[in-house]
Amino acid sequence: MSTPPPTSTGFASRPLHAPLLARPCTAALMIADEAGASALLALAEATPELMPRTTVLLADAGVMNAALRARAPARLVETPLAGLEPALDALLAEARMGLQVHVAGSEGLIGRAVARLLAAGLPLGAIQSEHRGSPARRMQCVHCKTIAEDITTDPYTCPGCGRALYVREHFSRRLGAFQGVCIDAETPGEVPEPVEIQS
């Protein structure tokens, strides 16, 4: 059997995002933030027959709530982004195998949602993700374990321990976060000028 192709970055752990596609399913769960909601709309447009079996979970999606509601999903739940995990857990408690999940939005939302889905036992093969919005990343400091949301520069300063951290492509599915590693461990104080993260 073929081995999976390496990702474009060469890091097998780097999540692969692609446009969301409908798959055979018993039920669907669509999750998005404000930036990702347009990807859900595109999916709903392409496969309206999916919507009567679909639960939509929107995290701080603002003006996009009404647009998705107009697509008549079986159920639509709104949550503040901070309350994503408990809202997702409540939906997953009733879920059965046959569920296909579509997540769209920032790296942070995707990472958090996928980590929760995997923890609930859903295999990765039932989850698709599409990146929309800023390239900001959810990062874990590998030294003090502090998670920092919406990191836009490399290196960045850890809000937990103050170290200057190099933004790696290495991603933890369990934590839903990229890894940040001390950039000046060998040469203390020699920290390169931060640059914007491109993707």
Partner: protein, 306 residues
């Protein structure tokens, strides 16, 4: 391979017999994990047969290995030899356990579906699941009551000629998130279960199946082994792997049933058609590879890298 003594032979059903093997000096055998099989070697007259059988005994019980063999009168003769010739007291050559059908222990729950003699790997797996306290559900689908074998407590029996056919959609629809599905049985049954699951939205990474194929007979064919500089003929009831072994050509193997990938061989030239019978090669690999354990060739000459 190790020499083990056949210590017990008893029928489980009219066609299925259980065999127990122990170390000749009573030494403990290596532990295995449910789903593992062993290769049983049989000297059937001039023919050396090697058949894979799933272990059915408790994987933690090191006092012996047990297998269950269904007699296949239309088969190549291995199961018939076991039923007729193998007798308690005999010392036989048995391979070390190999597992191509392991439980995924990250699963929250295990759904085990067996057809006929495909129940065998599950008999060992439910012992492992019971020991770790993992929730599971075992279904055994058979055509008639004559195929029934003793089942673990809680297993559900479906007998199609008694009208209790397995309702696959109902079984597959109610499973909690995190359930993994395992199916073992005939090719047709495995396909039906996996197709139903995929259609209901089960992802491929929650689906597991095992089917051992017996090498299908066919017309004799000629093979040139480029590396060994030998040309040989594969007999009608011989597999390509067996022909290589008979010619003294070293060829790797593990399951001898088209499942494990160990005997994968590059095809250098193919003046004809390869009949791929394995579960291993992807369609795009079939043009330039062959699995000698189960696949055959029709045509003038096949040249392989052995």
């Amino acid at each position: 391979m190790q020499s083990l003594k056949l210590t017990r032979k008893e029928p489980l059903s009219p066609r299925i017999t259980r065999f127990r093997f122990e170390h000749p000096e009573g030494a403990p055998l290596p532990i295995f994990a449910g789903g593992a099989h062993v290769m049983v070697q049989m000297q059937d007259g001039a023919v050396l047969r090697r058949n894979a059988y799933s272990l059915i005994s408790d994987p933690a019980d090191r006092s012996g290995y047990e297998i269950a063999v269904q007699r296949e009168d239309q088969g190549r003769g291995g199961s018939r030899w076991m039923h007729e010739q193998a007798q308690p007291g005999m010392v036989m050559t048995i391979g070390a356990p190999v597992n191509l059908f392991a439980l995924n222990l990250t699963a929250k729950r295990h759904l085990l579906i067996a057809g006929g003699v495909g129940i065998t790997p599950f008999l060992a797996q439910v012992r492992d699941l019971g020991r770790i306290g993992a929730p599971y559900e075992l279904h055994h689908a058979i055509r008639s009551a004559a195929e029934a074998v003793p089942l673990p407590d809680g297993a559900r029996l479906h007998v199609s000629d008694q009208g209790s056919r397995m309702d696959l959609d109902a079984i597959l629809s109610g499973q909690p998130l995190g359930t993994h599905l395992y199916v073992c049985g005939s090719d047709r049954m495995i396909r039906a279960v996996l197709d139903a699951a995929r259609g209901l939205g089960w992802p491929a990474d929650a689906l597991h199946s095992e089917e051992f194929l017996a090498p299908a007979p066919g017309e004799p064919f000629a093979v040139h082994c480029a590396r060994s500089h030998k040309t040989l003929t594969v007999g009608a009831h011989q597999s390509l792997l067996e022909a290589l072994e008979a010619a003294g050509i070293d060829a790797p193997w593990l399951c001898r049933g088209g499942a494990c990938g160990q005997c994968e061989t590059d095809v250098i030239a193919c003046d004809g058609t390869i009949d791929h019978h394995d579960h291993w090669l992807d369609p795009d690999e079939q043009a330039h590879k062959i699995m000698p354990c189960v696949s055959r060739f029709r045509g003038q000459l096949l040249t392989i890298d052995r």
